[in-house]
Symmetry: C2
Subunit: 530 residues, 2 copies
């Protein structure tokens, strides 16, 4: 019986199984109950039976570290967190007006955003299936609101299509579906698929294609009420005397293909970016703040770890006080280390050669994000774009319109660049104000007339210049996974690593949390066996 006196819930049963049998038995039970496909999260870990007085040093006050400290602390462990920055959250972080950010190389930005506006340099959206993150947001009182990923009214810009003129996602998407449907229908008629499909199946598929692709009675995708009802109108329907709509002309299919809109589909349809996504009200950093409140008083800020030793039946961590340069140490029975691998590989760590090799084996990606504060929300008022993403083949990669504060008056912050690959290193090489200028130039191609006129101030974060991560997130490949992953995540005597780099959900907060839960569950087991 559960607390309410009724039959046990699925969660309660799963929790009981987890206590008895551990993670993989639990996972089988979840699969049997039809839940496995949803998540690997089955509720907070059970860490009962901790030895009184056992202590843990947690390195890093990012989400993985703070979650480890929170759950271990709840279980009875004596916990302390050592953190390099003077704030909690790690990559979970928002820059607000009045904040200062100094990057490697010395460039320092004083953020000028209006009150309430922000840039999320790191994570910025939460998938519905990241269940541990959503669980702890609820438990720790983080208010969430929808994050708009797909926006039919947003733009797709390809400098090699439509003479470089940006087009609406809805028009390109409608024309893609319509043309694909018409072509496949033609192929069925031409018996091009007789080898794989019966005539009857072909006819039934054609009926489905007609509805899906907005084809006319002759199975053609043409200008008319059907295509306009998806791609939009030359004159939309209205009221009164001039109410009758005028359909719009579909594009030439070659241009549609050339636009690369199918890449945007692939983005939006990906499991990690499907609806419904969320963001915290007021900035992603609200999550780090909320986690920090749960471990209040346990974080030592401004401490740069230089050595991790585990000789003599204890873990000894040495750090330098960033402000004073003083060297300090602390001892504990165990250590959960969440320091990003690029930093950790430069620290003297007393682990097996295999784990040291694993730490050194995984490169980090780079990425640049630029926030542009605009005096008005012209994309809403004039273009009817509310949240979502416009794509471009320029180095900025995309523009994302704020999902928060929609319909409000006053300034708003557009994500003016979110770069990947070579573009990131090129932008990172520029001083922040030149990154902002480049983002403005490129963004103005999508919103000519208004973009530069409405610009007020900006902020730019290049992750390769981040002093606390030296990059964005861990980039595993098939070979490194095979050779190093299990060694990296294994408990090494008294030390265990955790973070997005110790997961298969790299670059996502959920990976950091699931990694942390798994790591502390195994460390706890190790402690019970000691």
């Amino acid at each position: 019986m559960n607390r309410a006196g009724g039959a046990p819930t699925r969660r309660e049963i799963l929790h009981a199984i987890g206590v008895m049998g551990g993670a993989s038995v639990l996972y089988q039970a979840m699969a049997t109950m039809g839940h496995a496909a949803e998540t690997q999260f089955a509720g907070p870990p059970n860490l009962s039976g901790a030895r009184p007085g056992a202590s843990v040093l947690v390195l890093g006050a990012g989400l993985a570290g703070m979650l480890a400290a929170y759950e271990l602390g709840k279980a009875g462990y004596k916990v302390r967190i050592i953190e390099y920055n003077n704030r909690p959250g790690g990559r979970n972080w928002s820059l607000y007006g009045g904040d200062t950010y100094a990057e490697l190389g010395g460039a320092t930005q004083k953020i000028g955003f209006a009150k309430g506006n922000y840039l999320n340099p790191g994570p910025w959206r939460i998938p519905y299936h990241h269940r541990s993150l959503l669980h702890y947001c609820k438990a720790f009182g983080v208010a969430l609101e929808p994050f708009i990923q797909l926006n039919h009214q947003a733009l797709v810009h390809n400098s090699k299509a439509f003479g470089g003129k940006p087009q609406r996602y809805r028009e390109l998407a409608a024309d893609w579906d319509g043309n694909v449907a018409e072509l496949l229908s033609k192929a069925i008629d031409n018996k091009g698929l007789n080898a794989v499909m019966t005539t009857e199946d072909g006819e039934m598929l054609k009926e489905a294609l007609r509805t899906w692709g907005m084809l006319d009675k002759d199975m053609r995708y043409v200008r008319g009420p059907a295509s306009a009802a998806r791609r939009g109108f030359d004159r939309p329907p209205g009221g009164g005397v001039d109410g009758a709509p005028i359909p719009s002309d579909p594009f030439d299919f070659r241009d549609v293909r050339q636009s690369g809109v199918w890449r945007a589909f692939a983005q939006h349809m990906g499991h990690e970016r499907q609806t419904t996504m969320f963001q915290p009200v007021g900035g992603m950093g609200m999550i780090g703040q909320a986690f920090a409140r749960q471990v209040e008083g346990k974080i030592r800020y401004g401490a740069k770890v230089t050595k991790i030793d585990q000789s003599g039946g204890a873990v000894t961590v040495t750090w330098t006080d960033v402000a004073s340069g003083a060297v300090e140490t602390a001892k504990a029975d165990y250590c959960v280390c969440t320091i990003p691998l690029g930093i950790l590989s430069q620290i003297d760590v007393d682990v097996s050669p295999g784990m040291r090799a694993a730490i050194a084996a995984v490169p980090y990606s780079n990425s640049v994000k630029v926030g542009l504060e605009m005096k008005s929300r012209f994309w809403e008022d004039e273009d009817a774009i509310y949240g979502g993403i416009s794509f471009t083949d320029q180095p900025i990669g995309m523009i994302s319109y704020p999902s928060g504060g929609m319909h409000s008056a006053g300034p708003g912050v557009i994500l003016g660049a979110y770069t990947f690959g070579p573009a990131s290193y090129k932008l990172a090489a520029l001083p922040p104000e030149q990154r902002i200028a480049a983002a403005l130039d490129q963004g103005a191609v999508l919103h000519p007339g208004r973009y530069k006129e409405q610009f007020s101030n900006g902020a730019a974060v290049a992750w390769s210049r981040s002093p606390f991560t030296l990059g964005c997130c861990a980039q595993w490949n098939e070979d490194t996974r095979k050779e190093h992953y299990q060694t990296l995540v294994a408990v090494d005597d008294r030390i265990v690593l955790a973070g997005e780099h110790a997961s298969y959900i790299g670059c996502w907060m959920e990976g950091a949390l699931l990694s942390s839960l798994d790591a502390i569950t195994r460390l706890h087991k190790r402690a019970l066996e000691a």
Copy 2:
């Protein structure tokens, strides 16, 4: 120069053109400025020069009527609204706990929802391109939040597919795209499209299809990391030792086609249901409330209009006081009549035979909506469904999960039925409690185990039994449009009709507003010529 002293904005230019040239010149100007495809709304109407003391009777305090009264009042007309109900809003309306609703036939429901919960019997979502509605929501202080239409985690249920087992939209959508891509690629290889496509175009299209359809290197849609990254996993990626994901098996394409998921695509991709949609915070009825505040003191409630006369150089409206049965009349120079056609056709209206024929010519649709309050938000906590719609081929048509209050604890109201066509009349024939029972039975097929267990109370509105509309909304067809539409919307001496029925955006609030703006603009012109 505009108020701020800078160059005039596009809106200001358009407003100036509208004042000088009227609606169709304005429309041409908008088209030239690249705005026409967005909306037929170009800002509030210019009604300057009203004759002092000129008066207008507005019939109906729905959105069309209240907007007419607001704008005419602002222009200097003496305005009064006559309304049948004891509340403003018309079909813009939310039912809250404590409300009472009596339908034709006498059945009366006392709504039992918890505080803050509601059912929107009428409109429930606002497209981003319904610019006049969004304009007035902003102007009148109606707080909006995203309405989630498309939800990849929601279900598609077809009793004739998958043995009647509901499946996730994301799985079906991924498999649809993947199979269509693979088939079209095969057809290109088999030269089934040689007549319409060069070999080079075919090869380039194949590369696009590979990305779009998540095909493997051999252009096949198969179980593996590519398809799983869209349709989901048997075991999703996680953290630590058991982090590696296990892909899921795609469905048989015949089952996917049979599921009718392409109908759901067509729904979500339609211009009227594209992202980003909105709803007022706290219920759609907030809009009617906000409009009513703008015409405070001008609405005569509880008045059933029985006669509209325009002899003798004035409009005389006669009504019965619903409570007392007393007959009253009022006189004015002009009349804006927004009474739904099914009601208006039963009233003695002094207009041309052509307009009377038009009023009688347009049938109304029916629809039934059922709200089911559940004790907990199990669809969020257990199924990771946040807002959006699950489709079924059962009479209820769909289940929609609330877009408001996501992640909160406590009871939530599911839209448990939104029926069309014959199903509506069948459900409407049942007493409300049996409609609710039917919705529970059918909804339980999608959420077995939890649906009936968590049910607390419900509400059901059958629009064919609505005393103030006798139906849902006007159903024009090509023939009736041709024969009657222009006559219906024309100014008939001193009377003009307005409402969604006098628009090409039938059944939408935007149609009511654009119709109203056009009607009062022409009535004002008529008044100036008088």
